[in-house]
């Protein structure tokens, strides 16, 4: 009886999640298999043979791999440095709030910030040009290309790694280091043979989270690249906003389903790694 009453309390939440998450998620996949007349079809997936579409998925993949790799290594280094700072101390609080601001806060603003740093009139560009006489755009403007997205993406990738990896790092039991020392091992032995192997699953989990994060990042790219669609999220944009009618709902669905397959694979791997990681650090 009480169970039934408690179950009733879950109804609003379940209804909300079904209408605004499960339903749209199902609609994404079904729209990929719908023809404009409402019948089922595979034709929407022909969009992947269009020039530029496969290339944009490829661009998204290498961009995400690269920024996840750099971001996870640098972010882990920041976590390492944070181990020496007092919990709740001013340094920890500064790093925490800066990291959440940068990682959660809209890519549009980050894009503006980046234009003021490395744009044609950005202060770093100007300083290099006027003081060091180096023109970073001598061979053309690369900030508004996929290569140009690498640096802006690192500005949210590194902070995200700090937030997601630090809890694992701070749970590293102190007695492991003591044990290594008592057995005569050096600092190097401790990190190479104990700490890094123990932390590796969590590190890879962070890496996958970063990959998923940049693979699905839209705002920064949309604000920087107004022409063309060189990465996968921008392909979804052009399929959604082009004005040739209903046929595009199917194309957008097919593109989104393509992204979804990659994202689900990455997040499944992440969930598996997290489970393995937690057994070490309990």
């Amino acid at each position: 009886m009480r169970k039934a009453k408690d179950g009733l309390g879950l109804v609003p939440f379940v209804a909300y999640v079904v209408i605004f998450f499960a339903l749209p998620a199902v609609l994404v996949v079904t729209s990929a298999f719908r023809a404009p007349d409402g019948s089922w079809t595979m034709a929407n997936f022909d969009i992947f043979s269009r020039p530029g579409v496969s290339a944009s998925f490829w661009n998204s993949c290498w961009l995400s791999l690269l920024t996840a790799a750099i971001g996870s290594v640098l972010g882990a280094l920041v976590c390492f440095a944070l181990l020496g700072c007092r919990e709740g101390g001013i340094v920890r609080r500064l790093v925490d709030s800066a990291a959440s601001t940068l990682s959660q806060f809209g890519g549009v603003m980050l894009a503006f910030a980046f234009i003021t740093i490395l744009g044609n009139n950005g202060f770093v560009t100007l300083a290099l040009r006027n003081i060091a006489h180096v023109d970073i755009y001598r061979n053309g403007m690369w900030l508004y290309t996929p290569q140009g997205l690498i640096l802006p993406y690192l500005f949210f990738q590194i902070p995200l790694m700090v937030i997601s990896f630090y809890p694992a790092m701070s749970r590293l039991p102190g007695h492991l280091a003591e044990a290594v020392a008592i057995l005569g091992g050096s600092r190097w032995v401790y990190w190479r043979s104990v700490a890094i192997p123990v932390l590796f699953p969590s590190f890879m989990g962070g890496f996958l989270l970063l990959f998923a994060n940049s693979f699905s990042a839209y705002a920064t790219a949309a604000a920087l690249i107004s022409q063309g669609a060189q990465i996968a999220p921008l392909q979804v944009r052009s399929a959604l906003i082009s004005e040739t009618g209903l046929g595009n709902a199917g194309a957008a669905g097919a593109l989104a389903t393509g992204m979804l397959i990659i994202m689900v694979a990455v997040i499944c791997a992440y969930a598996l790694l997290e489970r393995r990681a937690s057994s070490w650090l309990e």
Binding site: S97, S100, G122
Partner: protein, 328 residues
């Protein structure tokens, strides 16, 4: 006695606001330097580089906002923001900001009324749900805004047609996007304070569910509710993907439109919002610093804890223990 002295000295140096002090002393009594802590030099270099990275956008935008179009320096971009003869761009921005604030309020209301009570209920009454909730809450990360927006297009055109044409309905989507962050924050606190046991205690004393929720559980969750609120606000204020692809008008979509005619105004507004967010997050992080999971409702226990710290330090004779409990 050594332990007490250490604790007292440490408290004194803390009171002096000496945050840069080496907290985990690497060499104590000339013995062993902890392998699992960074050296002072490594810590300083890495953190300095991190703060440089964070400072770059701020320096860039500050410098940019004082530059005039001919290359000199000017304050006119800031003056424009406060001038009474508001340019058209600014009126548009006000509209977008108004829409965004309405969306933020509704999103927070959704989290308060629908999401947080359910998370508490699940934890207390259905403890077995924890395992699949953990998996379920990964789904919004696996199906991010750029994918979900394709499915939102028909859902929101239905809402637009039959329910409401105003902008705040976007909050339904933003509530979902914030869900994983709200869940991780609340869940960590629920685990820490042992919500199920507290509920049993309250109910054995005759309290009903609403009373338990209101006077036992929610006070314990105060800190995580505040950080949820801030993260939700930051996400809904900064969201661009769904708003832009569904052709809505929010602060972010307006910033993009304005940047095409007056990029300085966009940068000035961005700088203000970014700094406000950072300061808000920083202040909240400080409010919770005195409390640790399992230590009740915080603040009030501060003074006894000083004695407690000294006692624990005495008993264990270890500098690390006094270090830990001092900051509890």
């Amino acid at each position: 006695m050594a332990g007490v002295n250490h604790a007292v000295a440490a408290v004194a140096s803390d009171a002096a606001g000496n945050a840069e002090k080496e907290e985990y002393t690497t060499i104590q009594n000339g013995a062993w330097s902890r392998y699992d802590r960074p050296s002072l030099a490594a810590r300083r270099i890495i953190l300095a580089l991190f703060f440089l990275l964070v400072a770059l956008p701020v320096i860039g935008m500050l410098y940019f906002s004082f530059r005039s179009t001919d290359g000199g320096m000017t304050t006119s971009h800031w003056a424009e923001l406060f001038s009474s003869a508001a340019p058209r761009a600014l009126r548009m921005l006000n509209r977008g900001l108004g829409n965004s604030l309405a969306i933020v309020l509704v999103t927070i209301a959704i989290e308060y009324v629908v999401v947080i009570p359910t998370l508490v209920l699940l934890d207390v009454r259905f403890p077995r749900s924890r395992r699949w909730m953990r998996v379920l809450m990964l789904l919004p990360i696996a199906i991010p805004a750029i994918i979900l927006v394709v499915g939102y297009a028909p859902v929101f055109s239905f809402i637009y047609q039959w329910i409401s044409t105003s902008q705040w309905t976007l909050a339904f989507a933003y509530g979902i996007i914030s869900l994983p962050f709200v869940y991780t924050t609340i869940e960590a606190d629920l685990m820490g304070m042992n919500a199920a046991t507290l509920t049993q205690a309250a109910e054995s004393l005759g309290a009903g569910w609403l009373r338990t929720l209101w006077s036992v559980l929610l006070p314990g969750l105060r800190k995580s509710i505040v950080s949820c609120t801030l993260i939700t606000a930051a996400i809904s204020l900064g969201e661009f993907t769904i708003a832009s692809l569904l052709n809505r008008e929010t602060l972010q979509t307006d910033l993009i439109v304005i940047s095409q005619s007056d990029v300085y105004l966009s940068v000035v507004v961005t700088l203000i919002i970014l700094i406000l967010t950072f300061v808000a997050l920083f202040l909240v992080s400080g409010a919770g610093a005195q409390r640790r999971p399992g230590h009740g409702t915080g603040g009030r226990k501060r003074i006894p804890q000083g004695q407690e710290a000294a006692e624990v330090a005495e008993a264990a004779g270890s500098a690390d223990v006094s270090d830990e409990s001092r900051h509890a």
